[in-house]
Symmetry: C2
Subunit: 338 residues, 2 copies
Amino acid sequence: MKRSEFTQIILHHHMPTEPQQTRATAFAPINIALSKYWGKRNSELNLPVTSSLSITIPTKGSKTTLVWTSQQTQDSIVFNGEEIDRHSVLAQGITQFFDLFRPTHRWHLHTIIETNIALAAGFASSASGFAALALAMNDLFAWRLELSTLSMLARLGSGSATRSLWTGFVEWHCGQRDDGMDSYAAPLLEHWPEFCVGLLDIRTTEKPISSRKAMQDTMNTTSLYSCWPEKATHDIRLLKHAIDQKDFSLLGSVAEQNALTMHAIMLSSWPPICYFLPDTIAAIQRVWALRQTGLDLYFTQDAGPNLVLLFLKKDANTVKQSFPNVEIVSIFDDRIKP
Amino acid sequence: MKRSEFTQIILHHHMPTEPQQTRATAFAPINIALSKYWGKRNSELNLPVTSSLSITIPTKGSKTTLVWTSQQTQDSIVFNGEEIDRHSVLAQGITQFFDLFRPTHRWHLHTIIETNIALAAGFASSASGFAALALAMNDLFAWRLELSTLSMLARLGSGSATRSLWTGFVEWHCGQRDDGMDSYAAPLLEHWPEFCVGLLDIRTTEKPISSRKAMQDTMNTTSLYSCWPEKATHDIRLLKHAIDQKDFSLLGSVAEQNALTMHAIMLSSWPPICYFLPDTIAAIQRVWALRQTGLDLYFTQDAGPNLVLLFLKKDANTVKQSFPNVEIVSIFDDRIKP
């Protein structure tokens, strides 16, 4: 099935196919997977091999405004105040996303994106981008779709966007169906007010390799990938148990091992895929040294050099002292800042 | 079977059990595995899960002199000119090795070791140490054992010592037998005069974790290890083909992926085992950047932070320019320097 067929099924004949108002704005946060999404069973529909589980960073994300006028003859995009070349990767991604909803090209949009995160540096920028886009389109077209359905639309733009429509812990169910209609996300009910993360910005240059390509190369070139599906499935079970029991050491150790296993599998690919920079290793070793002293500190790392530290509120000061550049977010306390 | 039973079988009733002369000296080189020894099927007898294949670094190693006098009442060791405390790890290792050959403790030796490599920093110091010890004992006791048999005795001291009795390419056959009598090494016949290595000393402090313990923890705590045996077996086949065909790119890529896979598996263990230092990653990325420019340069990494660069003689100057601190060894040209 093509992505455009998928959207046609979602937007069946009752739904508006043209904008119903001239302007819509939505914010979506970034999320950091505690058990990673790594590997697709269907790359056209972005269907994952395994489920994944994330925590939303409510203070970071993308605010997207869609402006529609009937005079507009092509899409235009302003990103953080700057007009974006329509041949850029960002513009192409957005235009192709719109194309999924306009087989006859009857409308064009002016898109204004404001984000407070670095692009393509392992802080899930595309996740919040496509989630915000799906939310804004839902509003502009007055579709009134449920969030779970919108998460499937966001998924077509970027897999991890599937999880960026809620706060707190979110699970993306991999689903079983070939048409991907059961591959959507849902929030877990548990709150954990003591839960904190620390964003550790190692470097904000662009990645050496996109996570899309890294994922594909991994699946094709290393035998270690065969262990991943079972590992990820097991880890999600453990994470849910840890969240339910508020067992932070269990959560932290499972999340850290899950991330390291993903990076390990990439490292064993050919050519090798390595998102570690020297400073990443230095920071990782600082985490381990602190943990040796008894601090309940863990990390996770997406497909980029940055780390996300995981700890409880009581340890926030210690973490800040050890990592002066860290940006601490209290996951359940800090408000979304659109 | 106990290690001491193993040695009793090797040294059956015809063999001298007391020194036959007052002094014997032997040199053994270090070796660097191109397909690693990682994981034991029997830790008492140091029997590996898979075969492994190494290249000998003929200019680096240990020269060991054993001195016997009937007056000596306990073992004593001088290492690089310094008397070693008998409770140190090094002294204990040597004394316990001697114990395998003296159930009744009728003799003691003064051991003088001179080495030109850093200890326990991933340049296979214990491999050359136990190989030299086995060679010197063979001489001191006038056993006249074959090298393949001596490689099994060296194996009891340190697995990788099994491969340190020859120059060039050496294969350690894992063997099948429970008593380990078929787990010994043998040299490959092929010469490859253009083959060079570059020793890149990242840091010479001691390892955070011994390779013995790392190996054990890996096997116990990560599901990725299950992929290793097949991978290693496949890699040895490819390496032998590459050596036979003098296909350097194949050899380099297989060796590099093999090493990264071993480190990947360690990284996925819990607690994580990481021999990468920030400078290791920086050097690895320099290798990759040079390879991008067309240079046929690869690396391997043992259980330590150091790298061993792999390249052909024609590229030695380029490598030296890019890594000013590298120590280049022409594997088949440079002489053993005892």
